[in-house]
Subunit: 160 residues, 2 copies
DNA sequence: TCAAAATAGTTGCATATGCAACCAATGACA
DNA sequence: TGTCATTGGTTGCATATGCAACTATTTTGA
């Protein structure tokens, strides 16, 4: 994938290779595949499962709702990931006595073990990826991601 | 989503917000949703359908295989998108007489009409998105996407 | 204090997806 | 020329997904 996004805006053709959202999507897919090598085959986790585990590993315990907020997943995705993780006893839950709609989620010992094995592997993939960027470029990347995310978010909320 | 990816690499926690692949994925999802407003509701297209149409609109005719290469989709995705598009007669195909495994794909008149309506809408969304970046930042973005894509691709090929 | 609105989480359904197996046609080459 | 490998494309199956509807509980407020 090589192209650029300059000159976009008006043409009658889309020219996928110069269409930023397309480029971003292709990049994301590739990066996501790379990271998946840290958890998918070896532990039979899907991305959403891993995300929920990551949220819990970062800060336990959490309710499903808090997991939603921290992972940017919606509640159906989270509910289903949790049910897969409960089946495999990687996560356990107890009902919140203060508000019985809520469930308090924690990694089990096994879940935590997997979390601790996957984190360094995932970070290692990230590090290998980022070796092509110098420190200034990494800062640029962070800044661009933030700016674009906020903008996209804003446009979506305005639009409907 | 605000955070950064500096300082990553070694910690025992993943800290999703500082994990570049996660940040990228969240951004991509949001951007993708934004662009989808240009084709999804109004024309009942899914992303893969739209991608195939975009490839054809950019350069007709193509075989399914060529669509794969240009869109970075795999052949199953393309095959299914095409079958949806054939059902709706947005795309037509004729068998290649030189190699009867191949099908020559073209947008129909209706398909082309939709393509011509969606392209400016999609480009307009992109433009609104990119208003938060100055020209230098846009160039940076292009460069970073290319670098990271090539790197991820390389690591994936090496790894497995 | 009770009905209506809001919130946490789950589920049904129709549809999409990934993977491997598959079919048909072509190409390679002994 | 006949067999084997390759390529273009499709399909079956099990599973994942999006959406809207749903249950159960808590909150609001007249």
């Amino acid at each position: 994938m090589t192209g650029n996004t300059r000159g976009g805006g008006a043409g009658r053709r889309l020219e996928l290779d110069t269409f930023m959202p397309y480029r971003l999507s292709v990049l994301q897919q590739e990066v996501s595949r790379l990271i998946a090598t840290a958890y998918a085959e070896k532990y039979g986790l899907m991305r959403n499962d891993w995300r929920v585990m990551a949220a819990l590993g970062d800060d336990q315990p959490l309710t499903a709702n808090e997991v939603c907020r921290r992972t940017n997943m919606d509640k159906v995705q989270v509910s289903r990931a949790i049910s897969r993780l409960l089946n495999r006893t990687l996560v356990a839950r107890t009902q919140d006595t203060d508000d019985r709609r809520r469930w308090i989620l924690r990694l089990t010992a096994t879940g935590d073990e997997i979390y601790r094995e996957v984190v360094p592997a995932a970070r290692a993939r990230e590090a290998e990826l980022l070796t092509v960027l110098d420190p200034a470029e990494r800062r640029q990347l962070d800044g661009l991601i933030d700016k674009l995310y906020r903008r996209a978010n804003r446009l979506l909320r305005e639009g409907g």
